[in-house]
Amino acid sequence: MQSIVQRFNYLFRSTKGLVLVSIALIALVTAVWGTISGPMAEWGVRDVSVRLLGMQLNPAEREGRIIMLYHTIALAVVAIETYLITEHIPMKQHQQVTINGTITVGYILAMVFGLSFAYFGHNWAFHGLFLFGMSLTFFAGILLAAALWPWKKEYHVQDREYSHWGKIDLERTAFFVMAVATLGSALFGAVTGSYWGNGHETFLAEDLIREPVKTALQLSIIGHLHIMLTLIAVALALLIGRWYDFKGVLHKIAMPLMIVGTIVITLGVWAVVPFEPIAHIIIYVGSVFILLSALMLVIFGFRKLIREGLAETGQRGFVPALGALLRDPLRFGTLWQMVFMNFTVSGIGIFVAVKLDEIFRVWPARDERIILTGHWHVLSGIIATIILLYYADIAGLKGRARRWFGWIVILFSDLAFASVTVFEMKRLFVSEANQQPVVNWTMALVDLGLGVVLVALAGLMIWRLVDLFEKRGRWAAELAETGFPADDAPQAQVQPAREGTK
C-alpha cells in the first residue's frame, strides 16, 4: 500500500511526475485517436478501432468531436506549462500545491469526460463534467495569475543581470501578463460556447474563410483559437528562457518586448470581434515584438551552448563551435525548433498574407484550408516537440539515449513539418494534373516523420513506466526532490536543481 501511495505522490504531487502524467495522457490520446484519421484511416485501422472501442462517429458531429479533442489535448499542454511555471517561478508552496491540484483535476476531468461525450455517445452528465473540468482549469489560471503578481516585495528582482523595471522582475511580469491574457482569451471561447445550441452552431474556423460576413460569435472563436495557441507558445518561450537561465543585455531587451508583444497581440486578437479590419495590423505589430524577443533568446541560448561547449573541450574555431552547439540535441533542439518554426509557420504565413488575393484566393477554398490547418498543426507540433525535448532533459535522459532521442525528435519532426509545408504549397511548383505523386510522397514523409517521433515518445514513456515498477527507480529520486522522500530513495541520482529554479 505504501508503495502505491509513494508512486501516487510522485505522479500527482511532484512537478516531474505531474508533467509525466500529462505527457503520458496526451501520448495515449494521440495513439488511440491517431488511429481514426490520416494514414490509419486509409489503411483500415480506423474501422478496427471504432469497432473495438465502440466509438460513435456521426458524420454530422465531426466538427464538434474535433473541437473537444483539441480542447482536451490543449488543456493538458496548458497543465504542463502551469506545472513548470509553479516549479520555476517563486511563489508560496500552498499556492503551488493548490494551483497544481486544481488544474490536474480540471484537465483530467475535461479529457476523460470530454472524449467520452464526444466519441462514445452523448451522455450529458459527461458534457457537464467536461465543462466543470474546463472551469476548474480556468480557476487554476486565476490562482496562477494571482500567485505570479509581480509587485509583491518578496518577488522583487535580486540579481540585476535579469530584466527589471526599478525593482520589478520583468520576467515574472511577462509570465503574469501571459497568464492574464490567457484568462481573458479563454473567456472569448467560453462565452461563445455558452451560446451553443442557443444561437451558436459548431464550426471549425478554417471552414469560414472567404465568408464575407461573420457573426460576432464566429469572430470570437476565430480570435480565441489563434490567441490561445500563441499564448501557449509565449509561455513555452518564457519557460525555455528560464531553463537556459536567460539573462544579461539580451534578457533586458527581450522581456519588455515579450510583455509589450503579448499585450498588443492579445488586444489585437480581442479586437477581431469589434474592429476586424484593423485587428490584423495590431496583431502583426504584436507578433514582431514577440518574435524579436524569441530571437534574443535563441541568440543567447546558442551563444551559451557554444561558450560552454568550447570551455569544456578547450578548442576554438568554427567547427568546434558548431560541434559545441550541436553536442546536446535536447538543449539545442528546443531553440532550433523555434528557428525552424520561422520556415514552416511564420514565413509561410507572411508569404500567404502577402500573396493572398494574387495566388491563394484563386485556388479553391479547400486548398487554402489545407494551408491554414497545416500551418497551425505544424505550430502545435513544434510546441509539442519543444516540450518533449525539455521533458526528456528533466526526466534525466543521458548519454547515447539522450542523443538518439534528441536527434530523432528534431530530424524526423522537421522532416514531417517540412513535408507538410511542401504539401501545402504544392500548387506553386507542380500542376494539378501532376500533383498526386507529390501528394503521395509528402504524405508518406509526414507519416514517416511523425511515426518515428511517436515511437521515440513511446520509448520514453515505456522507460518511465518501467521505472515506476522499480523500488529505487528514478521516480523515487525525483520524489525526494519534492520533500516527499520515498523509502530507500537513491539520493545520489537526484539531479541538481537547474539554474533559475526556485
Partner: protein, 298 residues
C-alpha cells in the same frame, strides 16, 4: 547524417519523377446509367446544411442524373463554337458573360461584362482532344465527368442548352432528399461507394495509385472487372453527388466573386463528401477535380 540528407533529397527527386496520371490507356466501362437522364425533384421543405435548417424550395425542378460527361461537353464545344456562343482565343476558349454587380468588399474582385475563359486548352489534365476544328473526348473518358471548365464554362453549357446551374439549395436537396442524412445514400460511407482520396477504387488501381475520375454513375452496385461497387444513388436517383468531381453551382452572392462547389472529389477525404460541405474558387478557376450538372425549371 550525410546519408539521411541524401535519402531525403532522393525521395523528393523521386516524387517529382513519379508517374503522371495516365491519359490514353483508360478502359471504356459501361455503367448502365443513362447519362442523358433527368429526374424531377418535387417542391417542398428539406433540411439544409450540417445544422439542418428547414428550407423551402417552392417549385418542382428537374436535374441531371449524372454530371455532364466529356462526350457531352465536347459536343457542346463543337456546337457552341459553330453557333458563335464561344470562341477560341489563343490557348483558351472564351465566352461572353454580362458581369456581376461589384460591392467593393474586402477581397472581392470585379467580374465585369466581357469575355471570360471557358476552358484552358493547354492543361495537361484535359480529357478532350482538339484538332483545331473539332473537340472529342479521349478514348475511355467519354463517360467520365467533364472537368477543367471554369464556372463560366459550366454556366455557358447550361445556358446554351436552355438550362441553368443549380443553386446550392437545389443541389443539396437533390443530394440529400428530405431527411438529415450526411451522404446521398445514408450516414455511412464505404470505399466502394464513391470516388474519394484513398478510396482504393478500380481506377486507382488502373492508374497505379495516382487516381482518376470514374465514369459517371459508376458506383451503382455493379461489378466491374471483379470490382464490386455499392449503390451510391441519392434519394432521387442521382449519381456522383458525393465524390468523383466537385460540381459548380450557380449562386452569385453579394460581396464575393467566388463561385461555390458541392460534392467533394476524388482528391478529397470522405468528410468533404458530406452533402453540406462547400468549396469555392474564383470563377476563372478550372480543375481536373471540378465538373458540373444542370437543372431546369423553377
Amino acid at each position: 547524417m550525410k546519408r539521411a540528407s541524401i535519402l531525403i533529397t532522393a525521395l523528393f527527386v523521386l516524387a517529382g519523377c513519379a508517374a503522371a496520371p495516365q491519359g490514353g490507356a483508360m478502359p471504356t466501362l459501361d455503367t448502365g446509367v443513362d447519362t442523358e437522364a433527368w429526374v424531377s425533384v418535387p417542391a417542398g421543405e428539406f433540411l439544409m446544411g450540417q445544422h439542418e435548417h428547414e428550407t423551402l424550395i417552392d417549385y418542382d425542378y428537374q436535374i441531371m442524373v449524372t454530371p455532364v460527361t466529356n462526350a457531352q461537353y465536347a459536343r457542346f464545344l463543337n456546337e457552341a463554337l459553330a453557333a458563335g456562343a464561344i470562341r477560341l482565343d489563343g490557348e483558351q476558349i472564351v465566352t461572353y458573360y454580362p458581369g456581376d454587380e461589384f460591392h467593393g468588399h474586402e477581397h472581392e474582385e470585379p467580374i465585369e461584362a466581357g469575355d471570360w475563359p471557358v476552358m484552358y486548352l493547354n492543361d495537361e489534365g484535359l480529357r478532350l482532344t482538339f484538332d483545331g476544328a473539332t473537340f472529342e473526348a479521349k478514348p475511355g473518358y467519354e463517360n467520365h465527368p467533364a472537368t477543367l471548365m471554369t464556372w463560366f464554362g459550366a454556366q455557358a453549357y447550361c445556358e446554351f442548352n436552355g438550362w441553368r446551374l443549380p443553386s446550392e439549395a437545389e443541389w443539396e436537396k437533390a443530394a440529400r432528399g428530405t431527411d438529415a442524412r450526411a451522404y446521398p445514400w445514408g450516414d455511412e460511407i464505404a470505399r466502394n461507394q464513391a470516388n474519394y482520396y484513398s478510396s482504393h477504387d478500380l481506377f486507382e488501381k488502373i492508374t497505379t495509385g495516382v487516381g482518376d475520375t470514374t465514369p459517371v454513375g459508376f458506383f451503382n452496385g455493379r461489378t466491374y472487372q471483379g470490382y464490386q461497387t455499392l449503390d451510391g444513388a441519392s434519394p432521387y436517383g442521382l449519381y456522383d453527388m458525393a465524390g468523383n468531381v466537385w460540381q459548380w453551382t450557380g449562386d452569385v452572392y453579394e460581396g464575393v466573386h467566388y463561385r461555390y462547389m458541392r460534392g467533394g472529389s476524388k482528391a478529397d477525404y470522405e468528410y468533404n463528401l458530406r452533402v453540406w460541405t462547400r468549396n469555392n474558387a474564383a470563377p476563372t478557376y478550372a480543375s481536373i477535380n471540378v465538373g458540373f450538372r444542370c437543372v431546369d425549371g423553377g
